[in-house]
Amino acid sequence: MPDLIEKNVPAQGAAGSAEPKPEKPRSLGLDAWHDLRKRPVFIISAALIVLLVAFAIAPSLFTSVDPRAGDLQHHYLTKPNYLHFFQADWFGYDGQGRSIYARMIYGARASVVVGICVTAGVTVLGGLAGMAAGYYGGWVDTVISRVTDMFFGIPLLLGALVVLNAFTTRTVWSVVFALVALGWTQMTRVMRGSVITVKQSDFVTAARALGAGTGRIMFKHILPNAIAPVIVVATIALGGYIATEATLSFLGIGLQDPTISWGIDINSAQKVIRTAPFALFFPAGMLSVTVLAFIMLGDAVRDALDPKLR
């Protein structure tokens, strides 16, 4: 952690000294970015994610087939035709005669929206709670920490099952709600620990001695220095939330028709696994690649933000 903090303090007097070429001081974020751009893992995962987000935003650019249109008579479990690139039958048809390729593309939206919204939700909610707990200490910390402990006692998948069952119709937003409600405490712990470490640094004491207000100290001095571990955990967790959504949908307690989710497709393919393994393979593969992309991104970000591990 000290390395992280020191890096953010500009090297004082470096420019004025007699040294011929002083190293230009860089912020941690900038340094991490320079580092990231050179990592193949980052480049591959970022490219995959850009593609997925494109699927999510404009699926019709990639396929003109209606993913919900099923033709049981003509297409029931029709085998893929791997040479028909980007066509309805590229990856075959599912048990309801729908184009698997089109459903793969359209399924990205639910996963990406759930992943990003849940991560944003838990980061903001958990981050604020963690900052309050770490900064104020005392009874605020006690209350927040105990509540965190209580939520921690409920496994995410289990809790989500219970919460989601309360909704008669479940949309992407109900899944987001359930996962944020149960998942925020993870970020609270990370942020709290990080804030406590940073709070003890000399530059915070200095800022306080100079008369900076609470808000200024919290958001201007502590937050930028405490955020790195939160970003790392959030990036890695993003992939996990996508997997959780798929698992819930697979169990039939997550997303429902007409929302298109790879988890639902995996569930329906389960019944025909022996006769039509391709119906399982493509949504499952797509899901795995998506989770993989986000976890790889998290790995790369962590390596870049945590110079200790270099």
């Binding site: 105990r146 509540v147 402990d149 209580m150 939520f151 921690f152 006692g153 409920i154 496994p155 995410l156 998948l157 289990l158 809790g159 099952l161 219970v162 919460v163 069952n165 309360a166 909704f167 008669t168 992939g239 997997a243 798929a246 698992t247 697979f250 169990l251 307690i253 988890g263 995996i266 569930n267 389960q270 696994i273 022996r274 393994p277 399982l280 499952a284 899901l287 795995s288 690649v289 989770v291 993989l292 976890i295 790889m296 790995d299 200790k308 591990l309």
Partner: protein
């Protein structure tokens, strides 16, 4: 040490009560009228319905229900299923199966995970390390249902080593494959955590001292490195046993294991509030017990905690 245990036990009580409260209100948020649902599509006889509600304790305010529920809980009464079976009996049937499954998965992830992590950490940047990183990355990325089907397909349908589903849920041999599936994601985390921890500690000053003392490599690693590096791993493992019990819901479904996950899944589908909260309460207790054991282990491993 005795005082440390006592303190941790006392701290657990409010956490337990809080968690159970959260669960109560979550299950009472279940929609519709579970009692009326018993009669299916037909309109229920008001007198019968009232009697049933009374028997289930559903005819009072939510606040009163909460007090009754907590009272029963503290006296060990989990209530009855809609069909009139004692919830505690349903739990008693399913829990031993899932505990076996989870423990099997746990042992698997610890043994294999720590071994992979240790060698990876010691050989950072070498071929073994790179392979292990890719392998664990794949494990983390493949969602459990998918992994379950892959294993089922390869080992049961293609290789015919085992039957696709578990016939005898108490048979450890048959539980092996579901346990591997259940523990695989955690295994990847354990391996990665161990690797990071080893790689971090290997650079520490006390490791340099251990080498300077002329200790043989096996002692330097076994006594000095591994023990220090296990501290963060143990923390993870504490929260993981609970997650394994929860995660069993998918694995048990795929392999038809008659455990907590299966029972819970059916209870949720049938709107059995009492059964659901009963199971979740037990899982929370297991989780808290696991985290207590971990805390103690933590204190054994790290004297700085013990004397804090």
């Amino acid at each position: 040490m005795g005082r440390f245990v006592a303190r941790r036990l006392l701290q657990m009580i409010p956490v337990f009560l809080g968690t159970v409260t959260i669960i109560f209100f979550m299950t009472r948020m279940l929609p519709g009228d579970p009692a009326a649902a018993m009669w299916g599509d037909k309109a229920a006889d008001p007198a019968q319905l009232a009697a049933f509600k009374h028997r289930m304790g559903l005819d009072v305010s939510t606040g009163q229900q909460y007090l009754d529920y907590m009272g029963n809980l503290l006296t060990g009464n989990f209530g009855e299923t809609m069909a009139g079976r004692k919830v505690i009996d349903v739990i008693g049937e399913a829990l031993p199966v899932t505990i076996r499954l989870a423990l099997l998965a746990f042992v698997f992830e610890v043994v294999v995970g720590v071994t992979i992590g240790l060698f990876s950490g010691l050989r950072r940047g070498k071929a073994f390390d790179k392979t292990a990183l890719v392998f664990t990355l794949l494990l983390i990325s493949i969602p459990v249902p998918v992994l379950g089907f892959i294993f089922q397909n390869v080992f049961a349908i293609q290789l015919k080593w085992i039957t696709p589903t578990v016939q005898d849920s108490m048979n450890l041999g048959q539980l092996m494959l579901p346990a591997i599936v259940l523990g695989s994601i955690s295994l990847a985390y354990v391996a990665r955590l161990t690797r990071t921890s080893i790689a971090e500690n290997i650079k520490s000053d006390y490791m340099r001292t251990a080498i300077a003392k002329g200790l043989p490599r096996r002692k330097v690693i076994g006594t000095h490195l591994l023990r220090n590096s296990m501290i963060p791993v143990v923390t993870f493992l504490g929260t993981d046993l609970g997650a394994l019990m929860g995660g069993a819901i998918v694995t048990e479904g795929i392999f038809n294991v008659k455990g907590v996950g299966n029972a819970l899944y059916h209870a949720i589908n049938l709107n059995e509030g009492a059964t659901v909260s009963g199971f979740v309460v037990v899982l929370v207790l297991v989780y808290l017990a696991a985290s207590l054991i971990v805390d103690l282990l933590y204190a054994v491993l790290d004297p700085r905690i013990r004397y804090a």
